[in-house]
Amino acid sequence: MTENPASSVARVRIWDVPTRLVHWLIVASVATSWWTAERGDLELHRYSGYLLLGLLLFRIYWGFAGSSSARFAHFVKGPRAIARYLRSGSTPSVGHNPLGALSVVALLLLLLIQVTLGLFAVDVDGLESGPLSHYVSFEVGRACAKWHETVFDVLVWIIVLHIAAVLFYVIFRKQNLIGAMLHGHREYAEQPGSSIRFASVTRTIVGIVLAVALTWMIARGLELP
């Protein structure tokens, strides 16, 4: 405590702009999707769903082609690594810790299932439907709509768990995960051994173009022009 903080604290950039922006845009689009569904505004609900689909597609691409801290291969760990992390007293990680990785994978997977169900969902009157619903029968479309509701309930619980876990780290472990997801930097007691390799702007643009193009095609019902 008496030491000069500048020499004892290492401020390290761990999250790139795309990862942070996608994270908070997912938050915004999930909130918008929930609100529009509650209000029965299915027109807006479809648009927020398309935004979410585009963000998920980009995030998946980024999980393979992005900065090292955003890559699945970098943070998805097996049960043994998770157990070791828990035994170590959850020492700060550079990027996602092995337990946080589970949260990321679970949320991405659930959101992807949720969006896919929405693409095929049909409302009870056959008047509102997702952009791919013409590929399925009324019965299948209705079943998708019902699962769309059930999966949302599961999603809410996983989101609550995710937020509770983050708050646990902020309050009890004094690790400011929320600040890191906002400005991209974290402070470590000492310079961490590993460092992040950041992806180029070109890769970001390629990802945006791919995600937008694929989302556009799906929103148009996957029909050739």
Binding site: V122, D123, V124, D125, G126, S129, S133, H134, F138, G141
Partner: protein, 160 residues
């Protein structure tokens, strides 16, 4: 005294028989139990939803299959006429689980007007289909859809 009793027994038998016959006749006339009415109504609207989806799917294309489209549009017109009979008294929430609100029976004038909006607009859809005018079909379908929503907003409970 004896005679009187025997006569009464016979009279009673005849009355009982007649009552049984008329009950059978009445029962044959009665359409269904409230639960059966609710089930039939649910099935009717399910089929209507299916027809709506068919129209919606077909008019994505600028060259839809007009024969299939016509079948669906005819189904919608028939339903718009028949629905007047789908809400007999006693088939509301008091008879079992239904999304039909009590307002259907407490505000019969408004309910009839809402149903009329549907039966007025549905023939426009069929006419546009028969004229093979896709843009007119799309417009008419939007109008019919709005008439569905108009009634649902007031007379159908939200999904739970």
């Amino acid at each position: 005294m004896q005679m009187h009793v025997r006569f009464s027994t016979r009279t009673a038998s005849v009355i009982a028989l007649m009552a049984a016959m008329s009950f059978t006749a009445l029962h044959a006339d009665a359409p269904a139990t409230p639960a059966e009415i609710q089930k039939a109504r649910h099935d009717h609207y399910h089929a209507l939803g299916e027809a709506s989806k068919k129209v919606r799917d077909l008019i994505r294309s600028s060259k839809p299959d007009f024969a299939v489209l016509e079948q669906a549009a005819e189904h919608i017109v028939d339903a718009s006429i028949d629905q007047g009979r789908w809400f007999p008294a006693g088939s509301g929430p008091e008879a079992g689980k239904t999304r039909a609100l009590p307002a259907v029976w407490t505000k019969p004038g408004e309910f009839a007007a809402a149903q009329k909006m549907f039966s007025d607009r549905a023939p426009t859809l069929l006419a546009a289909v028969r004229a093979k005018d896709v843009d007119a079909v799309r417009r008419a379908f939007r109008e019919v859809g709005a008439s569905c929503k108009n009634c649902h907003d007031t007379f159908r409970a939200p999904e739970d």
